[in-house]
Amino acid sequence: MPFGVIYIAIMPNIENPTEKTLAALTINDPLAIEELFANEKARFDKQLAAKNPDEVNYALMKNAWLGRKAGVLTLISENWLKSAPPTLKPIVGQSLNQLKRHIEESLELFWVAAEKTSEEAASTRDRVDLSLPGVIRPAGSHHLIRQVFQEIEDIFFSIGFSVVEGPEIETPYYNFEALNIPEFHPVRDDMDTFYLELPKSATTPLLLRTHTSPMQIRTMEKQKPPVRVIVPGKVYRRDNPDATHSFAFHQIEGLAVDADITFCDFTGTIEYFVKQFFGPSVKTRFRPSYFPFTEPSVEFDVSCPFCGGIGTAASGGTCSKCKGAAWIELFGAGMVDPAVYGFVNYDAKKVSGFAFGIGIDRLAMLKYGIDDIQVFFQNDVRFLKQFP
């Protein structure tokens, strides 16, 4: 009935129609209902258009229209929809949904506009200066030697080597005799050794191990082949300290013994390690050498990874790392001497194996260009920070 429309149109200042039921508004035909909703829509649009898009207005509008307790839509639902006669309910419901969608969509647009405005405002005032530092919570660091240990351990672990550790204070038996280095062997002259002061009652002298090799013996004493271990640790030689000598330094011993380990397995293992450590392009070389506890013994060289094995640095001068030699001597190794098996009750006719001893400090110095071994032990935080 057009009456309602007229009523609303001519009585615009009368109380909010959404607070009354349709009956109270004396509206009973679909056209009038549509008119009623059109008015509400117009009212919303007018209000929204009058407001600056910002967060406060958005909240206000949202609350006024969509608020669950007293929002306009809630009132419409309560007052118009619930009590509508069954014939009008569908049209009221439909119109309500349309209005709701319109309000939500308009508010969404309003919100986007609000965000844009606030961003613009904040851009000059609140925006972070990315060139300023954040709050640093300083992290610590692993010691460089530990990092190199870890890298080497991981490489060997990946090819089946277990990690074991042993005492740094050793007996001459483990450090020398059982490694086929009897007393007065000339090799002992090269390993000037620290000894402990012991009570007279002591049955054996004690010394600081000069290499990690005693763990070869201790490991084989404890287990039968197959043996595959690496032994990281500190070792000691009684050398006066200078840029390349420290009376304490670090080694990783390796030992593999089994029924069928050959020289080819040995060189293959070492090559694998070195290519993992220095990169696949590095070349390797084994030179015959002599150690009492290995035979054949070798010195192991790699092509200088710094000049690419040509002896000449990129600058054109002599490579400072290999001193022009193109090769760098890395460590000593070899097939376990059968005499050593005699000390651990292995049958030298049935088993074979290899052993190696890698000097960690030298390796780290080479790889990172450190020219003074003492920095490892001074623990200056400026040094420690360089290797996070």
Partner: protein, 694 residues
């Protein structure tokens, strides 16, 4: 050993350049220090390993060259002219200690003219770094460098009774050696004596005596060329601290067969350079003559050790060139490359160290070329294991690094008095009997002494902020046994928080240390803190650490009197605990850890502002509350603490925040009111607390 390239050519017609030659030598087992082109041509510095005394002469190196290049080595066949008079009438030799001296040869040359050496001889000696003295002395050096066998020349007329007696030194005996030094002897030393053997004229294998030395007035020369037992020579050299060219060669094992030949070669050269008359024959006492050992090498063993084959021809040519005279003795000897191939070799007198099949395999492999054995990666037959505490230690490291601690590594050698500052009473330190210095004479009995030193280093180098940790060991003696214990040591000084744009800086405090330790402790359950602690810690700011009631360490501020010893001008905090026990606890805690369902009902916090008498510990508050057995209490925190201002003297104010939470339902105000009343009553009755506000 300096190898003169042209000298080498006396023995082998090598055509390779010195550089090439050096490189081939290096790859076949003679370590090369470098090649120099000097005034006398190329000189190769050969760093001969201690098992190869035969390479301490040009002939030995030539043999290696011959084997590498498959070139013949010219034999040494000196044929000096001899007079009719017999050497055996002119000199007598007696060896009383055949265990120390296996051979002694003597030749006599009369009427020599001692004079400077000719240029060619001086040049060669100079090229090898040996000073020229006179023709006769130079000859003995020359022959040693040529054939690798040391000789000694006596002034024949100064040798009493023209008789040599080789014997052990006598108690209290002394000798003045060629270098003019009087030396005290040890009864184990092998001495060369003359006449009735009362006078020593040389130390066997090491150095001659001054009294019988060749001089420019010497007329008649006695050439000694002997062989001494290597271990005895090494012992003697070490006892005398006298390491000579002779002791190096004899000490590593000279060739006994070479003694006579070297003597003959020396005689030939002396006749040539100093004239004179060589008495016929040689006095040769040779109690230590050895029959050459036979050693077998089989292809089967070669394959088993090396993993790849070497052709028959290569096996035979390398062994022959090195003097091992290989002979195939197996039944299949007609068949080349037979798996059954067995060679019988004869040990040459100059290679006493080659005794076993493996030694021959090494000889074959190094001459054949180690690069010819193809590298391969062996298959693993079992899984690999990490160290038992690997995981726990890794977690600990991660956490420490996250907390800002930097790992250090230290050398355990420290000064006795510094170690003592931190050493628990009753602990026996591990002292070195031969330290390099007093500052490094004891192995640390704790990790704190080296941690303090690391902080000291940093403070002395302008680095006032440091947070450090070390995973290391300490070393102690238990009777005559050593005990090494892994420990974690922490050290911190300087800022606890750096100044930045948003916050001011703050000095590291005991609370920082305690918080850091509790973060670590969470890995292992949690640390229990107890009053007291070692004397190196500040009595008011220290604590003992326990894990499941086991004492594992201590933490706190460094005591003032210890800090003064290090001249620390700022507070230093230290902690140390037993690493094995901690890691075991980490493992146990990990095993025991189970999921606890998250609460479904909200928790409620209530603050209690208490006035407490000074000296009342927070733990007493906690205990008093826990004693009420209110299961809905899920947390008790100290939220604020202050003294002074409105707080009466003798009291302090503590804000305690309690969280109530039930697993069954949302708590009602009435329930919380009831709990709160009980808590307040308990605190008032048990601790004399007053409630300020709630």
């Amino acid at each position: 050993m300096k190898v003169v390239y042209t000298w080498l050519k006396d023995f082998v017609d090598v055509t390779a350049t010195p550089q090439e030659l050096a490189s081939r030598l290096a790859l076949s087992g003679t370590n090369i220090g470098g090649v120099e082109n000097g005034a006398h041509g190329a000189v190769i510095e050969a760093e001969v390993s201690s098992n190869r005394p035969d390479c301490l002469g040009h002939l030995g190196i030539a043999r290696e060259v011959g084997a590498i290049y498959k070139l013949p080595v010219k034999p040494v066949l000196p044929k000096p002219a001899e007079s009719t008079a017999k050497a055996s009438d002119a000199v007598r030799v007696e060896i009383q200690t055949p265990d120390l001296c296996g051979r002694f040869t003597a030749r006599v040359i009369r009427n020599v003219k001692i004079q400077p050496s000719p240029k060619w001889l001086k040049d060669r000696l100079e090229a090898t770094g040996v000073a020229s003295i006179s023709n006769v002395v130079d000859v003995s050096n020359y022959v040693m460098l040529e054939l690798g066998h040391p000789l000694h020349t006596f002034d024949y007329d100064k040798v009493r009774d023209h008789k040599i007696v080789v014997r052990k030194a006598r108690p209290g005996e002394k000798i003045r050696t060629l270098d003019g030094i009087e030396r005290q002897l040890d009864p184990n030393l092998c001495m060369i004596s003359d006449g009735d053997s009362s006078r020593a004229v040389g130390i066997g294998g090491i150095m001659g005596g001054a009294e019988t030395e060749i001089s420019f007035s010497t007329k008649n020369v006695l050439i000694e060329c002997a062989w001494f037992e290597p271990v005895a020579v090494r012992r003697a050299a070490r006892f005398l601290k006298l390491h000579t060219e002779a002791s190096t060669r004899f000490g590593r094992g000279a060739d006994p067969e070479m003694a006579e030949l070297a003597s003959r070669r020396a005689a030939e050269l002396i006749l040539q350079l100093a004239g004179g008359e060589l008495l016929s024959g040689v006095v040769d006492v040779y109690p230590g003559k050895r029959t050459p050992k036979k050693i077998r090498v089989t292809r089967a063993e070669l394959l088993r050790v090396m993993g790849a084959d070497v052709p028959d021809k290569e096996v035979e040519s390398s062994l022959s060139a090195l003097g091992f005279a290989p002979i195939r003795i197996d039944q299949n000897r007609g068949a080349e490359g037979s798996i059954l191939a067995t060679w019988e070799c004869t040990q040459p007198s100059w290679r006493a160290e080659v005794e076993r099949e493996i030694d021959l395999i090494e000889e074959i492999a190094r001459i054949y070329g180690l690069d010819k054995f193809p590298p391969r990666l062996p298959a693993a037959r079992q899984g690999a294991a990490r160290l038992p505490h690997y995981e726990a230690e890794t977690r600990l490291r991660e956490r420490l690094i996250g907390l800002g601690y930097r790992e250090i590594l230290t050398i355990p050698h420290v000064a006795e008095e510094r170690d003592a500052l931190f050493r628990p009473e009753g602990v026996a330190p591990a002292r070195l009997s031969n330290p390099l210095s007093e500052e490094a004479s004891v192995l640390r009995s704790n990790g704190l002494v080296t941690m303090a030193a690391a902080l000291e280093w940093n403070l002395n180098h302008g680095q006032r902020n440091a947070r450090l940790f070390e995973i290391g060991r300490h070393y102690r003696l238990n009777g005559s046994d050593s005990v090494e214990t892994p420990v974690l040591t922490l050290g911190a000084t300087g800022e606890g928080r750096q100044k930045n744009l948003y916050e001011p800086s703050r000095e590291f405090s005991f609370a920082d240390l305690k918080g850091d330790l509790d973060s670590i402790g969470a890995l292992a359950g949690s640390f229990e803190w107890h009053e007291g602690g070692p004397a190196w810690l500040h009595p008011a700011r220290r604590g003992r650490l326990q894990l499941r009631s086991n004492e594992i360490g201590a933490a706190g501020q460094l005591a003032r009197q210890v800090a003064e010893k290090f001249k620390f001008r700022q507070d230093v905090f230290l902690a140390e605990f037993d690493l094995d026990r901690f890691c075991s606890a980490v493992r146990a805690a990990k095993e025991a850890r189970r999921y606890e369902p998250l609460p479904r009902f909200p928790g409620v916090e209530r603050d209690f502002s208490l006035l407490l008498p000074d000296g009342t510990h927070f733990s007493s508050v906690v205990n008093a509350i826990q004693a009420l057995n209110i299961s809905e209490i899920s947390g008790i925190e100290a939220a604020d603490l202050f003294r002074g201002k409105n707080v009466p003297a003798g009291k302090y104010s503590l804000l305690v925040r309690i969280t109530f939470q039930s697993r069954e339902a949302t708590l009602t105000d009435a329930q919380i009111g009831d709990y709160s009343a009980r808590i307040v009553a308990s605190l008032e009755n048990n601790l004399g607390a007053q409630l300020r506000a709630q």
